[in-house]
Symmetry: C2
């Protein structure tokens, strides 16, 4: 009989409303296989925790606490923005990781992140082999940007999309009420520096029962000021108001972001603004329309209170599948989401080789953006709608959502050397 | 037997997540008294609709549509920012209102708004009497700012408070996850130009189970840059991160808003920013901490998807009570919310004379702000918590909340003259 080995799990990059649901899937599934998996250790603050040997022993958490991860946003063990360099540049980092894995009898490496972490995961699989301590490395997809290839969509995206769609609809109702004498243009700025998936979700505010004029500024389309202003004016004249969804990545033809204004305060310091106030002021200057603007920032990706049920289920499922893949002997793979049917929507878990995932970014297909460049097509709507389907509310107490804070107890260190990042 | 008379209902000022619940309370209650109340006419875009004789016949809406107002944010009939001048300044406006009321057999005037509309409501009660066409004028409280006197709280506030408390908690979980290598300070800007009630709700993000360092910048407290920066640094050093809730009304000792930076863009145009980026940049300049900021703007007051159940119930109740007061012969009054018990929370409807409501603003009591000026006290927490208690989710279809859009059919005009605003 095989000896149980330990597993390592780490969260990478920007966190989401459902990345902890993936952690929940990993840990709950591992707990069902005590003969194969001993402890699941989580990296404190992501991969950094592996380098510094700060390993959180998830065995110390109750079943109830682990179950609560499913409805808790953010990264319960901490995440980090830390990209391992190439092996040639910094072999020491990889050797350190393997030393830590070896010291703690870790045979399974689960890395929960986006494109960069898929690449890291792939490298660790290869290097651990060449270093004589082979580790099964499985990547678990996570990104609000929805930009991983092969998988139909990325866990984390559906919930942001739902938040932006709902918020845009709600704010549009608001501005419509006020437009007769007050605000006529409302601008909301959303995430997505390179890909317009999140901005596209703003287009869901309108549908056959909600005639809401929404203008979307995608990062895929060069900003054209006169055409944009004309479109806003058209909407104000036909509907009395206009909603604008601007991606943080919206940019001028020369590539400069709208948000990068050459503004200085009274002391001459450069001011960091957002794209939303820039766009709103532009409209005001052109037509004098009163405006309001919002920047959703972290609120959008942390909004577990309005998460998509589909997203939560898929986030859990990719975590669960990662463990099942590992137990079946897979290596250097990533569970994917495969859309098997559109009407009714159905999905299943697939498997992609990391060699095909790493360093490939998926952009919005051109056929998802309307011809005028300011909206989404029916094909895009059909793609997006299932991803925001269903509600999955967290439990509340005293009017507030009850998100779990884990104990995060560290495992005793076994290596003599500390490691400088 | 009395002849049935018509009623007029109008929404005034900034709309909220629950002002339509008050409309629902008015119309549903009126429909139960067809012997006394014929039609409820709603002002298209608020009081302006009365002046221009654009009256929406709510009788043309189905019971189901009216019931759906309870879960629909914004102002279903349109609202306006239009303050009637004093009688001396513009008697013609008041005469016009009475002409319209007389032409459409309107004997009940329900005005749903804040302090200004309470004043207008009071005047209409007085003037209609002196003009020989006495109208019963009842004011229905509504304001996210929670600044009306006598009533324990204002419908509209509880839902904004819940949104800000939930969002601040969620974003704090997010920044905590990232703080090791990335964002250490998160700033969220909230509404409330004169009173810090909404900002105070950010303090609910932390509780006995959630040790979240929140610094609140109230409009009631002059901004003190060195003390603020010291407090942020303290939190980053003790917790690794810090959340800041800044009121749009936060200001320097000379009264100038933090948001009013003397910034110019490349063309020399003054830039309108928000308080959040100003505060965030200030922290960055002092300590180099990476930051993120959000401006919730309309999202906060339109967020019916995370409304407070208490708030929805109270909004409905004041609408219902307004009609009941009218039927009982009351005039120049406003239904109030009376807190009859704190533990467990209980409330009932009271009645205030408009003479005592008009032109009185209620500010945060000093004992609700912590001694250092950056947080809320236990007394404030006890005041706020019941107001965000309970969830009251709208129905969803295809992943989106189903908010009603009324037909808003106008009544045929009876007056020959049009009226220039």
């Amino acid at each position: 009989m095989e000896q149980a080995k330990n597993a390592f799990y780490a969260q990478s990059g920007g966190v989401t409303a459902v990345i902890n649901a993936s952690a929940c899937g990993v840990i709950e599934t591992a707990r069902r296989h005590p003969d194969r998996i001993g402890h699941v250790y989580a990296g404190a603050n992501g991969i950094i925790g592996a380098l510094t040997e700060d390993l959180i022993d998830t065995s110390r958490e109750s079943d109830a606490a682990i179950a609560a991860l499913r409805h808790t946003p953010s990264g319960a063990f901490g995440s980090c923005r830390y990209k391992l360099r190439s092996v040639d540049e910094n072999r020491a980092e990889y050797e350190r990781l393997i030393d830590v894995f070896r010291a703690h009898d870790i045979a399974y490496f689960f890395y929960n992140g986006g494109g960069d972490s898929a690449d890291t995961c792939h490298k660790i699989s290869q290097i651990s082999q060449s270093m004589g301590y082979p580790v099964q490395a499985i990547h678990i997809p996570k990104t609000v940007d929805n930009d991983l290839p092969i998988t139909d969509n990325c866990p984390g995206f559906g919930s942001v999309a739902k938040y932006i769609a709902v918020s845009t609809r709600e704010a549009s109702f608001d501005v419509r009420s006020m437009a007769r004498t007050s605000t006529k243009v409302f601008v909301i700025e959303v995430m997505g520096r390179h890909a317009g998936w999140i901005a596209a979700a703003g287009g869901l505010a309108a549908d056959e029962n909600n005639d809401i004029p929404v203008v979307i500024l995608f990062p895929e389309i060069d900003f054209d000021r006169p055409r944009f202003l004309a479109r806003v004016k058209e909407n104000v004249e036909s509907h009395g108001y206009c909603s604008v969804v601007v991606s943080e990545g919206a940019h001028w033809p020369d590539g400069k972001f709208l948000a990068e204004q050459d503004t200085r305060d009274a002391f001459g310091h450069a001011q960091l603004g957002g794209a939303a106030p820039v766009v709103a002021n532009m409209v005001k200057e052109a037509f004098g329309y009163k405006f309001h603007w919002a920047v959703a920032d972290y609120l959008q990706r942390a909004a577990r209170h309005v998460a998509s049920k589909t997203d939560v289920e898929q986030a859990y499922a990719v975590g669960k599948a990662a463990v099942e893949f590992a137990l079946a002997g897979a290596n250097a793979v990533m569970p994917t989401i495969v859309r098997t049917s559109q009407e009714p929507y159905a999905w299943e878990i697939g498997k992609a080789a990391l060699a095909e995932v790493a360093n490939v970014e998926k952009f919005m297909p051109a056929e998802y953006i309307s011809e005028d460049g300011f909206g989404i097509t029916e094909a895009c709507r059909q793609y997006l709608l299932p991803l925001i389907e269903g509600e999955d509310y967290p439990p509340y107490h005293n009017g507030m959502p009850q998100y779990v804070e884990l104990k995060n107890i560290l495992v005793e260190k076994k290596l003599k050397d500390s490691f400088e990042l």
